[in-house]
Structure formats: C-alpha cells, structure tokens
C-alpha cells in the first residue's frame, strides 16, 4: 500500500503557494483571542467608539429608502457619489483639484488591501523589485510576494525613510541590473514603525524617485489619525504625476465595511478598473452606500476628533507604561498618530522565539520578522495600542517587560543570543 499525505493536490499548486505551511506562531495567536490575554498584536480599530445606535438607524434608513440600488451591482470603478466624498476626504490632506485630484481618477476597492493587490497585478512581473521601508506593512509584503516580486527594504530612522538610503538602494539595484517598479511607502504614522516622514524628507523622496523615474505607491491609512498636529500634506498633494495613492475608510469610519480607494493617473486608472472588474466585478454597493450615508448624514468630523482622542489616550498609556516598565536596553518609537509603537529589544533577544513565553504570560505582540520580506527584524516587535483600554495596555506592557526580563535571564544562563 502507499501512504497518504492528506493532500491530493500537491503537484498542482502554483509555485507561489508552495511555501505556505501551518505556522506555530500563527497558532499561538489563537490564544490571544481569549480575554485573559492582553493583545497588543492586532490592529483592529476601536469601532465601539462609533455611535452604534445612530449608525444602525442610518443603515436601516439606507435599506428602506435606497435598498433597490444599495443591494444592486454597480460600476467597476465604484459609485460616483462615493468618489466625490473620497475627494473631499483626500482634500483634508492637501490632495485636491489644485493637484489634479478628480473623482474620475478614483477607483473604489474592497479595502486598501485589494487596492494593493490591484497595483501589484497591474505593475509587477515575477522577479521585479519593489522598494519598501524596512520594516514594512505585512499585508503589502504578502501581496508583493504573491506577485513573485522581490522586496528590497530601505532603512528608516525616527523620521521615517532615509533619503540617502533610498538613493543607495536605487543605485544598488541599477548596478545589479534589477528592475525596480515602485517605492511602496507609508509616510504618515507608519505601520509598524510608528514614525512620520517630516516635510523636508517628503520633498527629497519625491525628487529622488522622480530623478530615477521611479513610481511611488503612497499608502495612507492613518493620515487623519494624528494626535498632536494637523495632518501633514500627503506626498500626492505635492505632485500630479508619479504617485499612486491608497486610502481607506477602515480607520475613519469602520474596518468592517471594507471600503478603500486608489487615486491614480488616468492611464493607470483604466488598467486598475479593468483589473478590479476581473477580480471582483465591482465593489460592494451596500458597503459603498453605507460609507456615503455616513459621510453625508452623520457628524463624521466630530467622530474623527473622538477617534483621535481615544487613540491619543491609548498612545499616552503605552508610552507611559513603556517608560515605567521596560528594562534597560529596550528602545521604542514615539508615534504622533496612528496605531503602533515599534519596539527594539535589548541585544541578543529574539521576538519570534519569545512569543510562547509572552503568550504564557498572557500578552501578545507581533514579532518583527513579519515586517521584513527577508525574515530579519527579530530583535524588534510591534505593539498596537488601538484596541485595548488604557489600563489593559498598561498591564500588557507590564507583562511584556516581565517576559523580556525572563528571556534575558534564560539566554544569559545558556549563553545564547539570537
């Protein structure tokens, strides 16, 4: 008799999924859903801050009055009424008609994640290079890897992407004969870095990319969630061409509606629309109608301020707790907005290897290696402060500090560093 592998399709899978296996780290995170565990891992927005009763009424009215259209297909590019609203939202960060932003160039997507996938489908061939900050958003890395592109990371510091490092990376790729298709960047309240690119660097990054003929993919999910200042003008607000801009309603309204968008140059827009139609036919009209109703009938500006206040309080809680509890040698970023703190462990520690100890101590985080396409970054980890209340954040950081100290003691005993 022959044995079984319990998978009769192994010789039929596409090359790009052959490395997909069960992961013990992913399995460990199953425990993080239990209330005993303080999860500083996931980046779920705190949607409970929404006036849920009022949103419920709004949705009821939407179906009652516009059900026949809201429950129907729509055009592949997305509902024109929503595209108008998207332009109003983008104008808050300087992307307006002055810089050529038009509802005609907006493509509505199923969250910004589909937007990333569409851009990858339109631009990436296997073996192409994407430049991205190191660390970079894990969801984007997954998309680029699925497109069989190679991600080359460009270092950041406390002010985000380092222009000189970007120049060096472009030169290195040119020298190696590699084709770089675009720079993927989250310039404002970076995920997972928690850092923001200042004005001076924004100009310089755009110049460097323009000189190199490199497209920029600007991903801006958190731009309106600043705590300490007005939003910085987006990269796209400074130039008309050379930038594809991604936005989302996941943080300004609700992640569950899964509505995002792309603002692209005309020619690119057409390809994106065709790619999206091939993929999903059209974005959910129900979800788009809900977003439109929210931004036309609800006090969304006040709600945005409320979100900013909630997240600012949690940012303060995590930073205070880190100051109070973290052992010597640990360092971390101090975000001015967004959801994340990027923590660097004391020398010799490995955030991935430390996960089971952290889970046993009832705290969860995301190990840093997930944010690097090359698997480096194990001395770092990401802490999300967006979801747990401040007192739980403080308790979680206390548990994490204890975990780090235990891990240091263990590694000192065995003389092992990562």
């Amino acid at each position: 008799m022959t044995g079984t592998t319990l998978d009769d399709y192994t010789d039929r899978y596409a090359q790009r999924v052959r490395g997909m296996t069960a992961s013990e780290i992913r399995a460990l995170f199953a425990v993080a859903s239990r209330p005993e565990v303080v999860s500083l891992a996931g980046g779920s927005p705190f949607v409970s801050a929404l006036p849920l009763d009022a949103v419920g009424e709004m949705l009821g009215e939407l179906i009652a009055k516009q059900g026949a259209s809201a429950l129907q297909y729509c055009v592949g590019q997305g509902d024109p009424a929503l595209r108008e609203i998207i332009c109003q939202i983008m104008a808050l960060e300087g992307i307006d008609a002055q810089c050529g932003a038009s509802p005609d160039d907006v493509v509505v997507t199923t969250g910004a994640q589909q937007a990333l996938d569409l851009v990858a489908r339109v631009f990436l061939d296997p073996g192409d290079v994407v430049l991205a900050e190191g660390p970079s958003y894990v969801g984007a890395l997954g998309v680029f890897q699925a497109a069989q592109a190679d991600v080359v990371h460009v270092p950041m510091d406390e002010d985000g992407l380092i222009p000189e490092a970007l120049e060096q990376a472009i030169a290195d790729m040119a020298k190696a004969g590699r084709r770089v298709k675009f720079l993927y960047t989250v310039p404002t309240y970076h995920n997972p870095g928690g850092v923001t690119l200042p004005e001076s660097r924004r100009e310089r990054i755009i110049e460097i990319c323009a000189e190199a003929g490199l497209l920029i993919l600007e991903d801006n999910p958190y731009g309106l969630l600043g705590f300490d200042a007005e939003p910085l003008p987006a990269l796209r607000s400074r130039v008309r061409e050379g930038i594809i801009y991604l936005g989302t309603f996941s943080k300004t309204f609700a992640a569950g509606v899964r509505v995002g968008w792309i603002l692209a140059p005309h020619a690119v827009r057409d390809k994106l629309v065709m790619a999206s139609e091939a993929q999903i036919l059209c974005p959910s009209m129900l979800a788009q109608s809900a977003v439109t109703a929210y931004f036309t009938t609800m006090p969304w500006r006040e709600q945005l301020k409320k979100f900013q206040g909630v997240y600012a309080e949690r940012r303060d809680a995590v930073l205070t707790a880190l100051d109070d509890f973290m052992p010597t040698g640990a360092t971390w970023t101090r975000p001015a907005g967004g959801f994340y703190v990027w923590l660097t462990l004391p020398d010799g520690l490995d955030s991935k290897a430390m996960v089971p100890r952290a889970i046993a101590n009832r705290v969860a985080y995301v190990p840093g290696n997930g944010f690097f396409a090359d698997g480096t970054g194990r001395q770092h980890l990401r802490l999300s402060y967006c979801f747990p209340p401040p007192e739980r954040i403080r308790e979680g950081v206390r548990r994490l500090a204890g975990t780090i100290e235990e891990e240091q003691a263990l590694r000192a005993t065995f003389g092992v560093s990562s």
Binding site: L28, A30, V31, P356
Partner: protein
C-alpha cells in the same frame, strides 16, 4: 428514546488552542453524524456554572495541552458529577507529565529511551555549561529535547551536535519550565491508538509517520501534504505485534481508559521504544487517531458515540 446530550470542550488557554478548536469541530461533526445531540464550547469562566445548572449527559474533552490533558478539567468534572470520556484525573496527570509516564513504563520493565528531566532553575543554579557538557558526555548524541509537558511538537528539538544544545534548551524552555532530555532513537515513528469499548484495551493499526524532511514538527503535523502517513504501518507482522503489545501495556500501566494514543519508535533492530502517551489525542483532519480508527474499519463518530455511552454507563 432521547439522545444523549454531549458537551464537546475545545479551545482553552494552552499553546494548542487552535489545534483543539479544529479537533473539537471534527468531533462535533462526527458525533452529530452518529446521531448524537452535541454542542461545542470553550472551557472558560462560564463552564462550571453551566455544568451545575444544566449538566450534559457526558463531556468529551478535545482540549489539548494543559487543563485538558493534565487532569485538572477532569477533576472539575468529577467535582461537578458529570461523566466524561477518557481517563480519570489521576491517570491523565501521570500520562501528561512525560518523565512520569516514562518512569512508570521503565518501572514496569518496558523499554523507553534513557532520559533526564531538568528544570530551568537547575541550569542557572549549577551552571549550564558544565551541566550540558556532562549531559552530552553521558548520554551521547543525538538527543531529543522537549518540554516535559505539552504536545504538537512545540518546543521540541533534535540535537545532533553539542553546539546545538544551548539553543535547543532555550527553545524548549520558551514553552515550559522543565525539559525532558532524551536519548534520540533513530527509527520508524509510529502512533498507536488504543481503544477500549468495554471489553479491554486493544491496539488499532499503527500509523507510521514519515515527515518530508525527517522532523515531525508543528508544520509537518498540521500542513497537509508535508508528511506521509501509512496506516497500517509498514512493519513486519512480528514487529507490528510488539508495537501493539507495548501500546496496550503503556495504556494499562498508566491506568488509562477508553481511548489513548501511544507514540513509539521502532529502531533499526526492530526493537520498540515508548516515547509518550496522549490522553486527549488530536482529532483534526491531519491527526493520527482518526486515521487509525478508519484503518481499523471503524467509524470515528460511532466510536466516539460508543465511548460517550460507556462514560454515561460508568456514572449510572
């Protein structure tokens, strides 16, 4: 007649929560297909009040790792007077702690690889370097390092050179405070399901495990396509007999009940060695017990249903 109401417990707070939830789902489906009235729930703070207010006819524990396997939950069920499938709390505790189970088998004259059990504190108190040197000198290489408690291959490492031992110890202690360091036996890994439907324990056909890269770690266990399983194992009739006999002997020596899975290794000479026993074995789509039950020509739902009836009968 009214159908027995069975509560399937799955989830929990152990490292094996995800595996447990998958096992629980499969158990639930199998019991329902077998015509039982079953529901699944987590073991959390709402469990005990529920057991007391509306006790089910029986509980089937699909929790892996601590609580589900260390006897704690079984003790709670005994306190609540609710019958359950599987061994009692004391026997579960014996099997759960791998060094304890090995000692019981060794005392019963059964073969199990030499081992030493060491908590993390011993290394810090006595000096890890000298202790590891002594371990390698006395026990030789290769070694298997694994947490004294827990399953799914989490924290387990094969150590082939002395230089690999420190990292293996660190990896092991991430999952628990006590390590089992065992002489590694090269051979054929087999898992034997022992089933007792009221007429004494019998061994079902052994399942042979052939991981693609030789190590049966978490990925190899739970990624379909990575490991090849043979049920029954490709063993001679004589070796098969020895495998079955040792599995049943382990089940008896540990005082187990109803259903267990005994992990063994067959060395190049055909000798069989006891590695560990599992009182709440996995029942996922890539787990070994369902393969053994099916290889025996039995139906998973029917077997579990019969075990539920036995548990109910024990109470009565």
């Amino acid at each position: 007649m009214s159908f027995a109401h069975v509560l399937v417990l799955a989830g929990g707070l152990s490292f094996e929560r995800e595996v447990s939830l998958r096992s629980g789902r499969r158990v639930l489906d199998a019991l329902k297909l077998a015509g039982l009235d079953a529901e699944q729930r987590d073991a959390d703070t709402t469990l005990l009040p529920l057991l007391l207010a509306t006790p089910p006819d029986a509980v089937l524990i699909s929790l892996h790792g601590a609580t589900g396997e260390d006897g704690a939950l079984r003790g709670v069920l005994e306190l609540a007077g609710v019958p359950y499938v599987g061994p009692d709390a004391r026997a579960a505790r014996r099997a759960w702690d791998k060094p304890t189970a090995k000692a019981i088998l060794r005392d019963a004259g059964q073969p199990t690889p030499d081992w030493i059990t060491l908590p993390q504190e011993t290394f810090s108190e006595l000096g890890a370097s000298a202790l590891m040197t002594q371990i390698v000198e006395e026990m030789g290489l290769p070694l298997m390092v694994k947490p004294a408690q827990g399953g799914s291959g989490l924290g387990a490492h094969v150590v082939r050179t002395a230089a690999e031992l420190p990292a293996a110890m660190v990896g092991c202690f991430a999952y628990g405070g006590t390590a089992l360091i065992e002489r590694f036996v090269t051979g054929i890994d087999v898992a034997v399901t022992v089933l007792d439907l009221g007429e004494g324990p019998v061994a079902l056909p052994a399942v042979e495990i052939v991981p693609a890269d030789g190590v049966y770690d978490y990925q190899a266990r739970y990624t379909a396509g990575v490991t090849t399983w043979h049920a029954p194992a490709r063993l001679s009739p004589e070796v098969s007999e020895r495998v079955a006999a040792l599995a049943v002997e382990a089940h008896k020596a540990l005082g187990l009940r109803d259903l267990s899975r005994v992990d063994l290794i067959v060395d190049a000479g055909g000798d069989v060695h006891f590695l560990e026993a599992n009182v709440s074995p996995g029942l996922t789509e890539t787990s070994l017990v369902p393969m053994a039950i099916e290889a025996a020509g039995l139906d998973v739902g029917k077997v579990l249903g019969d075990l539920v009836q036995l548990a109910i009968a024990r109470k009565n």
